[in-house]
Each structure stands twice: as C-alpha cells, then as structure tokens.
C-alpha cells in the first residue's frame, strides 16, 4: 500500500513539476531558515553549560540606590565571597574575578599587549570546569604572580602546552610564573580569557572594603540547597557588614541611609542565565539578550508556517486536478482514511525532499550566517546526536501540518459530484485559502515594517547628535608607557601637519575608563544632596578636540591657576543639583573616604550633554576635572592621506617609546562597536524578512497560476464579450490586492505594537512615522501584483476559442 502511495506521489510530483518545485523550494527555504535559527538558538542556550556544576553556580549581583543614582551591578564587594562561605554552610565554594585591563607581555624582544586577562582566586577550578593540560588545579593560582594560560596562548608564546615553570615578563617589570595550562575556554562561555592571574597578586583583593563593588563573585551551592533561602539572608548580611562601613564613611547608620531613599540589595543570578539575561554594570564581557532568542524563534516559526501555508494553499488550489482521482479511488473502494494516508504520504515525501534541499541550503548559508551573527556554528549531523532526530521530527511535523488540510479537504469530496464534473469549491469561494494568504501577507508586512524601523533606529543612532564629534578622531590607546613623556608626545603630535588638535586622557565618550564618585553640593557632605557622577580627569584641549559644546561658562585654561580646582559639569548634573545659575557654585569632592577630606571645586562651565554610554541609556551626570591622565591620546585630524598621517604618528610614538606596541582605533569605529549587536541583528532581521517574503511570493505565484486556470472559462467568455488584456489582468490582480489590503489592516497595529516595545529599550530612539506603514503596504502590494502579474497576463493573453472548446 505504501509503495503504491509513494509511486503515485512521485508520479504526481513529476507530472506537475512547476507546482512541485514551488512547494519543495518554498518548504526548503523555510526549513533551512528554521534550521539555521535552531542552531543559533541552541548555541545561545548552551552558554556556560559546559560547567559540570552549572546548575549550582550563582553570581552575587547587586542593586544599589545611592545619591540619586541607581546601579545594577554584576560585581560585589571584595569580602563578599569569603564571607558567604564562612557564614553560610550551603555555600560550597566561591571564586572572584577582577578585571584590571590588559597586560604588556614580552615575546622575544617584542612587546605584546594582551587584553583577555583576569585576576582570579585560587578556587577557580573548584567552581568552573576548566580542564588542565599541565599543572595542578589545587595550587595553580595560590602564589602571587602566578599565571594560568590557555593552550592557544601557551602555543603562541612557548610552542608547547607543557609550559608550567616558564616565566613571562609582565609590564616590563615583574616576572610571572606559569603555573598551569588549561584547555581553551569553550566559545559558549560568558567569559573568555587567555590569562588568569592569581588574585593574591592584587593588594585590592584583601582590602575588606564593603562599599566598593569591583569583584565578579561566583558561589557554588551545595547540592540540593535552595538559592532563594540564601538570598533571603542577604539583607541581614548587608546590615551586618555594609552597615558599619557606611557609618564610617558617611557617619549615618543603615536606618538613616535607607530613610534617605537609598538601598543596597544583593541577589544571586544563576550562571546559566547570565549570557541571555544579564546586562549589568561590571559584566566581564557584553552579553547577548534573550529578546533575540525569542525574536528569532518566532521568526523561524513564522517562516516555517508561511512555507506550510503555501503548501496547503497550493494543494487545495490544485484540488480540481486531484478531485477526479479522489472520486475514482472512492468508487474503487477507497475509504476516506486510505486517501488521507495517501495525501499525507505525499506531503511527507515532499517535506523529505525539501529537507535534503534545506540541508544543502543551510550548508551554503551557514558561513554567511556565522559572519552576520559572529558565531562559529557548525552543521555536523554526526557530532550532534540530537540534530538528526530533531530534523526528522521537524520534517514529520511539517509534512503533517502542511499536508493535513489538503488531505482532509481532498478526501472529503463526494465521489459522485467530482465524477459528474461538479466541483464545489471554486477559487473565489474558498475563504480559508484567502485567510491563509492574508495571514502570510500580514506576517510579511510586519516583517517589512520591523525591518524599516530597525534600520530607522540604526540610522538615528548614526545621525543623532551625540554631543561630540567622532569623525576624524584617532585614538591612541595606552599612552601610559610613555610616562612623563606623554605630554611631550601630545605636543609633538600637534605639530604634525594634518593634526588639528590632541588631548591626553583615559576617559573617552566611546570607550576607555569610567570613574563614578559622589559629588556633594555642600561642605557638610550631606549625602542627601550628593550626586553620584562620572568624574573624568581631562586636559584643557579635551572639549575642543572632541568637538563638545559649552552651554555656558568657559573651558579650563592654563591662564587661570585656580583651574586645578575648577569643575565643568554636564547639563544632566546641573539639573540634578537644581542649579539655576551654576557658574561659580562650589561642589565638594571626596578625595579620601577614610579621612573624609574633601576638596572644594568651583563650577566654571556647563558642557552640553554628550552620550558616553549607549543610546539605550539616558545621559547621566558627569563632571570634567582638570588633570593629567595619560591613559589615551585622542587626536583630531584633518587629512586626505590618513595612512600616511598614522605612520607619521606611529614613527613619533616608536621614537619616544621604543618596543612598545602602537595600538590605535578610530573613534567612529569605537562608536559603531557600541551598536554592533543592533547592526548585526538588523542585518539578520532583514535577511530573514526577505526570505519570508520570498516564500510568501512563491506561494502567491503558484496560487495565481491556479486562480487563472480555474477561471479560464470566465476569461474566455469575457474576452469574447470584448474585454482587453489589461481589463482581465486588472480583474485577476484585484482579488489578490484586496487580500493584501486586509493583511495590511491586520498587520499595522501588530507591527506598531512590536516595534514600539522594541524601541523602548533605547533612551534615545526614532519614532515610527506614518510613512513606514504606507511604505510597507505599498511594497507588499507591489510585490503581490508583480508576482501575480506573470500569471494573470498569461491567462489574459490566452485564445478564448481554446479555453471554451472543451466545455
């Protein structure tokens, strides 16, 4: 029986090759997209699961409100880990990470800047599963100046993974000893470092400072213990340990601290939810977002659904051709169940063929997709034991889903009617088919609108006034090795022709350092009037080099000797203090928390707000202080021959700091890097929208063919009565256009709602203008008419004598 079904299915497919091709290609594109997204989502969901204790590892995160500022932290105070282990028996172990920037290493005679560096407690290997190739996990990170490196790094520096006992010269000063070599960290990890330095190296790790949050702290709970129960005791823990520290610094106790509207909360974030759910201050690396997993899963589902809808539509539209066969089979004794099975076999066969094609397509598209998504996903059917069964299941479900409606629809024909040649369901009468087309187009229109809005927002980010000019700015990183010569370097650089200006500072709006401090409005250091803000040490060329604008007041100047105690604040800070006439006002800046000595600063100017975090956040208070900080040097250039200019600057640098790596970026690139995720997701969303529309068009193309075929007689009669080709084309296109209009009406509010919610993520965002909807509607209508016109014009050109003869 099955053989018979397969045979007739194959012959049917072959007989109507065009139809089969549309069906198979449409399904294949749908399945391929689905497969790609499935691989992407699985990759995203697998983060940090390589850890054997993944289910028991938690990061201690903080939520602190203080001085009008709100911090959501991925970091905790330095004594937190040890205290938790000491006070709570359910804590099995802890480990802390502390990022302190990169290290300058010697490879032969060459200096190499390494950035994937972290300081870690010796308990690292009790918490995370990082298999060792050489060395002892118990002792590796105990002694100060110990270094654990990954296999790749070991090969890079020593040409062997058995590098224990070797030393590395760090920052041209200290010799660190390699104590272990670990396997490379899996790509699916929320941290990815090449160098682990023993925490004992850092004096800061032993300060027992409860009010400074700098350590990413992870705890492993004992098996079977409830993280909620531990979390419930955090409030008491904070009162006990943070309370005295607050008292010492601000001379208020916890009750007063809380009464002033401040709070400090700590909580546990499961390790496995960090990658997709955590976007806090102090993350080890930018994480992904669960939103994208949801969005892509939904897109995958809808694309597959569109492909299935095509299948259903084309099959039922074609039912006229199959109806006679159904009738005859019924007369020959076939039960309805037999026919349902036959048609399902057929649709599963088609989806199997589509799968084969889809695997090929996925294989072809994967490199591009990996490039777009910055992933290293492989399509390996054998190494992923779940993949093949999952695919087969997907094919089966697709086949059943796509085939069930045609199967039940076709098999329910009354044999006597179809044999007599009376076919009940004409094209126009099938509301279900119209409904499905509306559905497809509604999804396509939503995707078009989403694409336009995403692009509009990306454009907005590019063109929005950031408050500084990022074009033609060269940033030379870590000019600190120049030491005292850094200032001379700046002065020399400005002399090069093509250089307009230069400033020396570690603090830049696009990247670089951040420094958050409370700044008080009165000399009693009343913390109620404190504003927690960024305080950046900059020189007097800073504002002019970066093209910032002063709203009022003046810039720092060498002429005023008192400018060492001057401060320029941004508009946000001025607003926070409630100053109406800020110039000349005094602010108090805590230099040393222990002695509570404050320096008095007088406001000399207000700088227009500039964005120094991503557009997702509002501009927060910020202050510029005059100081010398050789972290970076930002150079404003104006030259046609940029490579030549860069070489000149590099030569100067090498002359002043021989052997140091010359590391530079352009500020606009740094800026774009902040939005790389959005750009990446934008491109992916556009690609998928295009695919969805393509599949919908394939379906429409086939449907139009059958609509024209079904109305052959009507077209013939109309032509005999004098209709022109354009009359007929218009008549046939109108039916489809109506459906597009209905689809648009459904899609517009949904799309508005989706995109409105997406934009809420940005503090600075574009609006969804009316023309977005008009454009999406017009595009959809144009695509529909264009697709349909092939068929309608052909039908309209047909000779009426031919179509009327066999009636």
């Amino acid at each position: 029986m099955l053989k018979n079904y397969l045979k007739i299915a194959l012959r049917n497919l072959w007989k109507s090759k065009g139809f089969s091709a549309i069906n198979i290609i449409g399904l294949a594109i749908g399945l391929a997209t689905c497969l790609l997204i499935m691989l992407f989502v699985l990759d995203e969901l697998s983060y940090d699961r390589y850890n054997k204790k993944a289910d028991r590892i938690y990061r201690v995160d903080g939520d602190i409100k203080f001085g009008g500022n709100h911090f959501i932290l991925a970091v905790a105070p330095d004594p937190m880990g040890a205290t938790l282990k000491k006070d709570y028996p359910q804590v099995e172990q802890y480990v802390r990470f502390r990022g302190q920037g990169g290290l300058l290493l010697k490879k032969g005679n060459e200096n190499v800047q390494e950035d994937k560096v972290i300081y870690a407690d010796s308990t690292l290997f009790d918490v995370f599963t990082l298999p060792m190739l050489d060395g002892d996990p118990q002792t590796a990170l105990q002694a100060p100046n110990s270094l654990v490196i990954t296999a790749t790094t070991a090969l890079k520096y020593f040409n062997t993974t058995q590098a224990v006992g070797r030393t590395m010269l760090v920052n041209n000063r200290d010799n660190y000893k390699i104590t272990a070599v670990i396997k490379d960290i899996p790509a699916q990890s929320h941290f990815n470092f090449d160098f682990f330095v023993s925490m004992a190296t850092l004096e800061e790790s032993r300060r027992n400072n409860w009010v400074s949050n700098n350590f990413n702290t992870y705890v492993v709970l004992k098996e079977g213990s409830d993280p909620k129960k531990l979390e419930a005791q955090f409030d008491a823990l904070i009162d006990k340990y943070v309370g005295p520290a607050v008292k010492q610094i601000m001379s208020i106790d916890m009750a007063e601290f809380k009464k002033a509207g401040n709070y400090e909360k700590q909580y546990l974030t499961p390790l496995t939810s960090i990658h997709l759910h955590s976007d806090k201050t102090g993350e080890l690396a930018p994480n992904s977002n669960i939103q994208y997993v949801y969005i892509f899963s939904a897109i995958a589902f809808f694309i597959l659904l569109i492909a299935c809808v095509n299948f259903m539509n084309l099959s039922t539209a074609r039912s006229a051709n199959r109806a006679r066969e159904v009738g005859v089979r019924k007369v020959l004794g076939s039960l309805k169940a037999n026919l349902v099975k036959q048609f399902l076999t057929e649709s599963i066969l088609i989806s199997c063929m589509a799968l084969v094609l889809a695997l090929g397509l996925t294989f072809i598209m994967l490199p591009t997709f990996n490039h777009l998504a910055a992933k290293e996903i492989k399509l390996d059917l054998l190494s992923n034991p779940w993949l093949l069964p999952a695919l087969l299941l997907m094919v089966l479900i697709t086949g059943l889903l796509a085939g069930s409606y045609p199967a039940f629809y076709l098999s329910s024909f009354k044999p006597i009617q179809v044999i007599k040649g009376k076919l009940a369901a004409g094209f126009k009468t099938s509301w279900l088919r119209s409904g499905l087309v509306v559905f497809q187009f509604a999804i396509s229109i939503i995707l078009i609108i989403a694409t336009i809005v995403i692009y509009k927002q990306l454009n907005f980010i590019q063109s929005h006034k950031t408050g500084f000019n990022r074009e033609q700015v060269l940033v030379i990183h870590s000019t600190s090795p120049l030491g005292s010569k850094a200032k001379t370097f700046r002065e020399e650089v400005v002399k090069i022709s093509g250089v307009e200006n230069a400033t020396m500072t570690g603090y830049l709006p696009t990247n670089g350092w951040r420094n958050d401090n409370p700044v008080f409005a009165d000399p009693t250091l009343d913390q109620k009037k404190a504003v927690s803000m960024q305080t950046w040490d900059v020189d007097e060329q800073y504002i002019s080099t970066l093209g910032m604008e002063l709203v009022t007041g003046r810039n720092f100047s060498k002429e005023f000797l008192t400018d060492s105690s001057a401060i320029i604040i941004n508009e946000a800070a001025a607003k926070m203090y409630g100053f109406t006439e800020p110039i000349g006002k005094n602010l108090y800046y805590l230099r040393d928390i222990n002695t509570r000595s404050a320096s008095v600063l007088h406001v000399i100017g207000i700088v227009k707000d500039f964005n120094f975090t991503s557009f997702r956040q509002q501009v927060t208070p910020l202050a510029l202080l005059m100081g010398e900080n050789a972290g970076n040097t930002a150079i404003r250039i104006n030259s046609k021959n940029i490579p030549h200019l860069v070489t000149q600057i590099e030569n100067l640098y090498n002359k002043m700091a021989p052997g140091e790596p010359f590391d530079y970026t352009f500020m606009d690139e740094d800026f774009n890097n902040l939005y790389r995720t959005e750009q990446r997701m934008g491109v992916i969303a556009i690609s998928f929208s295009a695919l969805a529309i393509l599949i919908a068009c394939l379906g429409l193309f086939g449907l139009a063919a059958y609509a024209a075929e079904q109305r052959t007689k009507e077209i013939g009669i109309r032509k005999v009565l004098g209709a022109t080709v354009s009359n007929i084309t218009a008549m046939l296109s109108k039916d489809f256009l109506k459906l597009v209009v209905v689809a648009a009406v459904i899609a517009f509010p949904l799309a508005w709602w989706f995109m409105h919610s997406w934009l809420q993520d940005f503090a600075y965002r574009t609006n969804i203008s009316w023309w977005v909807f008009i454009m999406a509607g017009v595009v959809a209508a144009f695509i529909a008419v264009f697709t349909v016109s092939f068929q309608t014009i052909r039908a309209a050109l047909m000779n009426p004598v031919k179509s009327l003869r066999n009636e």
């Binding site: 007739i8 009738g327 089979r329 004794g333």
Partner: protein
C-alpha cells in the same frame, strides 16, 4: 438481490423540493441484465448511483443481498460495496498517473489482498482481456475502446456480483460499442448481474429487462 422500496431523491431549489426520483419501487434478481432508459434529466444516473451506493436517497429503503443499505454506516456500506459492486463509466475514469496494470490492481489494494495474490488476479484479468501488451502503458496512450476495456477489467477484478455501467459506450464508436456490449452479454452469461444506463435502444436490447424512467418515475418495465 436488489430491492428498492419507495425511493425518493430531491434537491431543495429556492425552498421547494425538486424531485429527481419519486417513489421508485424496483426488484432485481441475481443474474439479470437490466437496462435503464429515459430522456436526459429523467433520473437514470441518480438511480444508478443510488444502486451503486455512491449516493443516498432522501427517503425509502434499499436492500442489497438482504442487507438494509439505507441504514448501514459508511464503513459497512463500503465493505459491501467493495466486495460486490463494480462500476463502469462513460468517461472511463482511469487514474492517469497509474499504468493499465496498476489501474486494474487498485481495487484489490483497497481490499487488502496480498501482493502475490494480487499479481495472479491481475495477470489473469489482463490475459482474459487480451491487453498483456498494454499493461505498462498509461491511460492517455490508449484509444477510447481500449480505455473502456481497462475500465471494465478494473470493475471486474474483485469478482463483483453486480456490475453497474453508466452509458459505457457513450464515448465510443459503434464498432467499439458493440464489442463492449458483447462482452457484457458474455459476463452476464457467466453469472454477473448487470445494470446499465443507456440512451441507445440497440444497447438496451442486450439486456433482459428495460426500465423506462421519465421525470423521476418508472414509466414502464418490460
């Protein structure tokens, strides 16, 4: 074998019933060869379809081999039908995607007959109808007469007791028509009960009875 009692069939047209068959009473014994005649629209085909269980009557009783067909469920009806009834159409209604061999084989598949047995049965039938050379051809490659021959072979493959034919020679030329009618005569002699619908007096003459229909009623029987 067949007994119809007060069979009526109607359609609702504009709220009023339009009768296609009205109060048909009919008995057909096993081994008979009945021709149903009548002008277009007299209800011939509908009567044949009801007899063939492809259509239901709105009213009345239908007993087939002592089974009350009118009160049976679809599945049981299909069972009787599969075993005892063969159908021949004016337009042959072969399945275009299947070869001659496969077309003839199809009813057996639906009766869950085993492959080997099926092969033997189909081979016998093909032999008997002298179409061995054509068994791998598709219907579109055959002439009308040959297609109808295949249609009859297919109708007979399951060894039905009753053969229903709806103008079996309607699309054929007179020579082909005669051959088909001779075949029917032959089959009838072998014991197959045949009911055919025809326009042609000549073809009706092959039967043992003629039933004349007019406007849904039996006008006369002879």
């Amino acid at each position: 074998m067949i007994e119809l009692k007060h069979i009526s069939k109607w359609y609702q047209v504009g709220g009023k019933p339009t009768f296609i068959l009205k109060d048909i009473n009919l008995t057909i014994k096993e081994g008979e060869f009945v021709s149903i005649m009548g002008p277009s629209g007299s209800g011939k085909s509908t009567l044949l379809h009801i007899l063939g269980m492809l259509d239901d009557a709105n009213e009345g009783e239908y007993h087939f081999m002592d089974q009350p067909v009118h009160s049976l469920k679809e599945k049981q009806r299909s069972q009787i039908y599969k075993q005892h009834v063969g159908f021949v159409f004016q337009a042959y209604h072969l399945i275009d995607e299947l070869t001659v061999y496969e077309n003839i084989e199809t009813p057996l598949i639906y009766q869950n007959i085993k492959t080997n047995e099926r092969k033997a049965m189909v081979a016998d039938m093909i032999d008997r109808f002298n179409i061995v050379g054509k068994k791998d051809l598709f219907p579109t490659q055959l002439s009308g007469g040959q297609q109808q021959l295949v249609g009859i072979a297919r109708a007979l493959i399951a060894k039905p007791k009753l053969l229903l034919a709806d103008e079996p020679t309607g699309n054929l030329n007179s020579k082909q028509g005669e051959e088909i009618m001779d075949l029917f005569k032959q089959l009838n002699k072998e014991g197959v009960t045949i009911i055919q619908v025809t326009h042609s007096e000549k073809n009706a003459g092959y039967g043992s009875h003629i039933i004349n229909l007019l406007d849904g009623r039996i006008e006369k029987t002879n």
